[in-house]
């Protein structure tokens, strides 16, 4: 299954990229994050991060679909 992963702010700097395609066996957003954290060891702290799928806020237990764009948001700090 192919998905596109996007990284923002701190995560973009930690991974050294803003976006990358991922071909994987499928599963939850949390599983994808863990897989990407193995590829990019600096990527961590999923518990405080947020995830959006196709520009909609989502949760880590959501099962991903083919072609989804998965957005990994590091801890937010608006205001």
């Amino acid at each position: 299954m192919k998905v596109q992963v996007r990284y923002f702010a701190l995560f973009r700097e930690q991974t050294g990229c803003a976006s990358e395609p991922v071909n994987w066996s499928g599963g939850t957003a949390a599983k994808l994050f863990q897989m990407m954290a193995e590829k990019h060891p600096a990527l961590q702290n999923q518990a405080a991060a947020l995830v959006a799928i196709n520009d909609e806020m989502s949760d880590w237990e959501t099962i991903l679909n083919e072609g989804d764009e998965v957005l990994f948001f590091p801890p937010v700090a608006g205001g």
Partner: protein
């Protein structure tokens, strides 16, 4: 627009005017400004990154939630993005209602939710020349979710 993101200075007078209503006896405004220090560091300027497609949608939901939960008539919020200097207004929340209690509560709700739910990040640039992303230290230390505590 109830929630918007701006890359230019916020017009505070225009924001207040947007919630003005003769039925309302109360107007509560929260302005978040860039201050010169954070956690022992001297801050020179601040940079906001906003992922607009999600921030604008989620921000509008927060405003709608406030209008549902509290007896208020109008509510709006504008958040800045880009490079801001000391004293600049980074965020403004304006709420109007018949009576002040609901307006205070709704204003607090909107700014608290804005700080914890929207994809907005800030990078502090210190006078030392160092810069770093600000995150919730409590979250980073404990690995828990934002729902567990208040941000100030």
């Amino acid at each position: 627009m109830k929630f918007s993101v701006s890359d230019t200075p916020i017009d505070v007078a225009a924001a207040r005017l947007a919630v003005t209503d003769n039925h309302c006896g109360a107007l509560v405004v929260f302005e978040g400004w860039i201050r010169d220090h954070n956690e022992g560091q001297e801050v020179e300027r601040l940079e906001y990154e906003v992922y607009r497609p999600v921030a604008i949608k989620e921000g509008a939901k927060i405003i709608d939630e406030a209008l549902d939960r509290f007896e208020v008539t109008h509510a709006m919020c504008i958040h800045r993005e880009g490079l801001l200097e000391l004293g600049d207004c980074a965020v403004i929340v304006c709420v109007s209602s018949a009576h002040r209690g609901a307006a205070f509560d709704a204003c607090r709700y909107i700014i608290d939710q804005t700080k914890t739910r929207l994809p907005i990040w800030k990078k502090e640039h210190y006078v030392t020349g160092v810069s770093e992303w600000v995150n919730c230290e409590q979250c980073a230390a404990a690995g828990h979710s934002h729902g567990d505590h208040q941000h100030e």
